[in-house]
Symmetry: C2
Subunit: 213 residues, 2 copies
DNA sequence: AATTGTATAATCGTATACGATTTATTGTCA
DNA sequence: TGACAATAAATCGTATACGATTATACAATT
């Protein structure tokens, strides 16, 4: 019943983290033999992992040419945020009635850790943890499984921008505001704040991607 | 640059169609050896196809136990429709300003074919073709790639219900109404009609899934 | 009769091997 | 020198083989 991680899933998790952490950059080729050798496995599970990552949009597969880290255009980033806004507002709206004290406490704890986290990649992970912590109360696992790869797709670019400015500070203010609205059970305000939060991240990323040629 | 269909993708397409057409029923096991033998290939590409279908939610993989056609509970079906409503209304809204005469014509042609189509499985495919025809004008490929498997997940159950009642007739009326609103460029009405259209399908499926014990 | 244990069969997961395709390199000719 | 063909190298895609895991059948025990 429990699905123990097999080799392919472990490889996928490893590659996912490498992409999120920026160790693997956009358009970089992922050589099956090389990955297999590095991890001490054969190509077959590596290929299965790549198929999985392709479904998540993190890599692009070209037949007989191999796998490459997907690059995001400004238009694609904008599309992802449009989707995220549509889905995350639904998730939060559905979640708020089911938020309990322990959930809110845990969400706040994540924010407190983020306040003092200096590693941007780690901060990025915690960022999603905070959002996911709230959304999971909606009891919509498929919705979350759709959101997760969308988040990762933009997060790996945002992480490059994080160190630049006061993005993290602004973001944290918005997080605390959203959390407070959730505590108050104010659905309209919480959803509105979340939309603004995502929109500001969207424009930040858009300008960043534009500047990159 | 062009991605020619490799063996795994062909197998995935074949299995997808078998699931949609109801040849493979819920909870039915998918034996890798059997599929490989039937299609005259080895297990490796079959496994890659199964990983792909798992990502689409059509099959569930248990480690060392194999693949099974995913079964849908009433709650999961409801969740899928919640997601679809959120995304498809966004898609239609974004699409309407870009709808051209040829697109509208093609959409109407699909509806005309559906009017006289007796094979429910084929009708089901055309149903998605109609919606996708409109959505594609939104220029949001990732949104459509998310919607497609969601549609297939519920369509394979709806097809069982189609023959029963005047579901198809009602559905077609709604389709024509949506199309007309699109022609008029009336975004509010089109989106409202679409929401109603999906909601009625959702309740239809919910009652059907409830009746199945 | 129900339950536990064991042997056997079925099935899965992955390493290895090899042919097919693409990419890089070299060499030839205008 | 530059374009282009031929060859070599790298890489991919898939079949085969085999150990590992799980399911099944049946005997032994309580």
């Amino acid at each position: 019943m429990i699905l123990t991680k097999n080799t392919a899933e472990s490889i996928a998790a490893h590659l996912r983290l490498s992409i999120l952490r920026g160790d693997l950059k956009s358009n970089e080729p992922l050589r099956q033999d090389k990955i297999a050798e590095e991890l001490g496995v054969s190509k077959v599970p590596v290929r299965e992992a790549l198929v999985q990552l392709k479904a998540e949009g993190l890599v692009t597969l070209y037949t007989n040419r191999g796998a490459f880290i997907s690059a995001l255009t400004a238009a694609e980033a904008s599309e992802i945020y449009t989707i995220r806004i549509a889905l995350e507002t639904v998730a939060l709206e559905a979640a708020i009635p089911h938020l309990t004290a322990p959930i809110l406490m845990q969400a706040e704890n994540i924010l407190r850790v983020m306040d003092v986290e200096t590693d941007t990649a780690r901060w990025n992970e915690l960022n999603w943890d905070f959002h996911a912590q709230l959304y999971q109360a909606a009891q919509m696992p498929r919705l979350i499984s759709i959101l997760e790869p969308l988040h990762m797709n933009v997060a790996r670019y945002l992480v490059l921008y994080l160190k630049n400015l006061g993005f993290q500070a602004t973001s944290q203010q918005e997080h605390y505001a959203i959390l407070q609205a959730c505590r108050d059970g104010n659905v309209t305000q919480a959803v509105g704040l979340l939309r603004q939060h995502l929109l500001s991240a969207s424009t930040t990323l858009a300008t960043f991607l534009m500047s990159e040629t």
